[in-house]
């Protein structure tokens, strides 16, 4: 099955490992992701924080390109891009809003846009538990994971269509299919502090610290994430977070695609594991020790 693919800007920088593991896992599962050639930034939080029409215009250009390329479905790994693209498509249904946004574009946007969904939902729609199980080369048995979705994936509930907005379970379903033991992690949708790590470090450090502290208390081997910004806050900023909550952590924070890739027997390099600040070696050792299914 072929999908149009919108990587988002961080895929080309800080979350190159998310991109790499997404492509690798989708390859194994038979999802072909074709990157839109001249996609632009969706504007992320700064655009919608400054102006709704500006944010919608940046997204509309991408939706328009996808529509003109004849895409039926657009997949993106990043929850922030997903949220912005979905919000824009929704707001553009109002004629007066669309007219104001069209005036910012070179050409009026296409009448109908393709549906936008997350890579996670795309994978789940493409293959069920059995579809995933047949690709497993190294069962994740014995691995205890905390699934952390962040705030954007499941909210607003109606728009994002991601199951229970307070207690989503899709990531758990995918990783359980790979044999991992998923913890019942109560902070799974509580904000990590988003992009405030730069202008207001104390906010992000405290919120991320709380998430990591609970995962550590619950004896998680790793936190599984789906958002480039959450990953950066919990991994790259982990020492700042630890200091804020007066603790010490050595908690690997992996993209769910990296974990699925390990179960599929892909090499750590093919999944970009060397990009993680907190090494995933403890995880790899545990997998080796468990033996898995070869």
């Amino acid at each position: 099955m072929t999908y149009a693919y919108y990587p988002g800007c961080s895929a080309k920088g800080s979350s190159a490992d998310y991109e790499k593991s997404t492509q690798a896992v989708c390859d194994v599962l038979g999802l072909t992701l074709v990157e839109m050639s001249d996609w632009n930034c969706c504007g992320s939080t700064p655009a919608h924080a400054v102006d709704t029409e500006l944010s919608a215009a940046l997204c509309a250009r991408n939706l328009d390109i996808a529509a003109r390329q004849g895409a039926k479905m657009l997949l993106t790994p990043c929850p922030s891009c997903l949220s912005n693209l979905k919000h824009a498509a929704n707001r553009l249904e109002k004629p007066e809003f669309r007219a104001r946004v069209d005036a910012l574009l070179d050409n009026p946007a296409a009448g109908n846009f393709p549906a936008v969904t997350s890579v996670m939902q795309g994978i789940a729609a493409h293959c069920d538990v059995n579809g995933i199980a047949k690709h497993i080369r190294k069962n994740l048995k014995g691995l205890k994971l905390a699934a952390y979705y962040g705030c954007l994936m499941s909210r607003p509930a109606k728009l994002m269509d991601f199951g229970d907005p307070e207690n989503p379970s899709l990531m758990e379903n995918l990783l359980t299919a790979c044999g991992a033991e998923m913890l019942n992690f109560p902070l799974k949708t509580v904000c990590c502090g988003a992009s405030y790590g730069i202008p207001e470090r104390a906010v992000t450090a405290r919120l991320s610290g709380r998430i990591l502290k609970l995962a550590a208390c619950m004896q998680a081997d790793a936190v599984a994430v789906a958002c480039p910004l959450c990953q950066m806050n919990l991994d790259l900023r982990q020492p700042q977070a630890a200091k804020a909550v007066d603790a010490f952590f050595n908690m690997p924070v992996l993209y769910f695609t990296q974990i699925m890739g390990l179960a599929f027997g892909l090499s750590p390099t093919a999944l970009g594991l060397e990009k993680l600040r907190v090494s995933a070696d403890s995880l790899l050792r545990k997998l080796e020790a468990e033996g898995g299914r070869s």
Binding site: K12, G13, S14, D38, A49, P156, I198, P199, R201, V203
Partner: protein, 194 residues
């Protein structure tokens, strides 16, 4: 002066209507249950809690609402909207207040705005966000040269930061720059701060 007299003098009914029109939310639906405040992860850095901001808008206390630091510290996580028993999109109200505060040049958390503008500058230049560029511009704007310096060595070692910006090919970067130019021109034409 009597507080009640003072309060009625400060009330601006047009402000309440403005917020309702721009956010699409009916302010009188809020009955102050406090669920939004209870769930807000950023409440610990707010000068006024979310329900207090909602009350201020209901009462038409424009300065109280637009001058608050809270509208800038809101993380847009939408927990408030999700848990509102009356289905008010509280996060949309907070965002509307931020837009109004910006346009009226009442920025109470300049560091936050500086960060957003730095990010958008890189999008204007390349069509895509450029992480190192955003940081450099932010440091210049805010004069906070040591921001996140502790992260630089490890970010470089792990190749977390791309040195070269990713420019949208096929003239896409110029198309994005035109979108942003038109946005700015329209804001100037409409007499608001872009």
């Amino acid at each position: 002066m009597n507080d009640a007299n003072n309060l009625s003098r400060m009330r601006d009914a047009a402000f309440t209507k403005d917020v309702e029109a721009q956010s699409g939310q009916k302010m009188s639906d809020c009955y102050q249950c406090g669920n939004c405040t209870a769930g807000c992860p950023a409440g610990f850095v707010y000068d006024r809690q979310v329900n207090q901001i909602m009350r201020a808008v209901q009462l038409g206390l424009k300065d109280e609402a637009l001058g608050s630091r809270s509208v800038w510290m809101c993380l847009s996580c939408s927990t408030c909207s999700l848990r509102c028993p009356n289905d008010i999109d509280v996060a949309a109200v907070m965002e509307t207040l931020r837009h109004m505060a910006r346009r009226g040049n009442r920025v109470t958390a300049p560091k936050v705005e500086n960060f957003w503008l730095s990010f958008l500058d890189t999008v204007r230049a390349f069509g895509r966000a450029y992480e190192i560029g955003t940081m450099a511009l932010y440091m210049l704007r805010s004069l906070r040269v040591f921001t996140d310096l502790d992260l630089v060595p490890v970010a470089l070692k792990k190749k977390k930061l791309g040195f070269r910006p990713h420019v949208v090919p096929h003239g896409g970067a110029a198309a994005v720059a035109r979108i942003m130019r038109r946005y700015k021109e329209r804001a100037v034409h409409e007499g608001v701060r872009p």
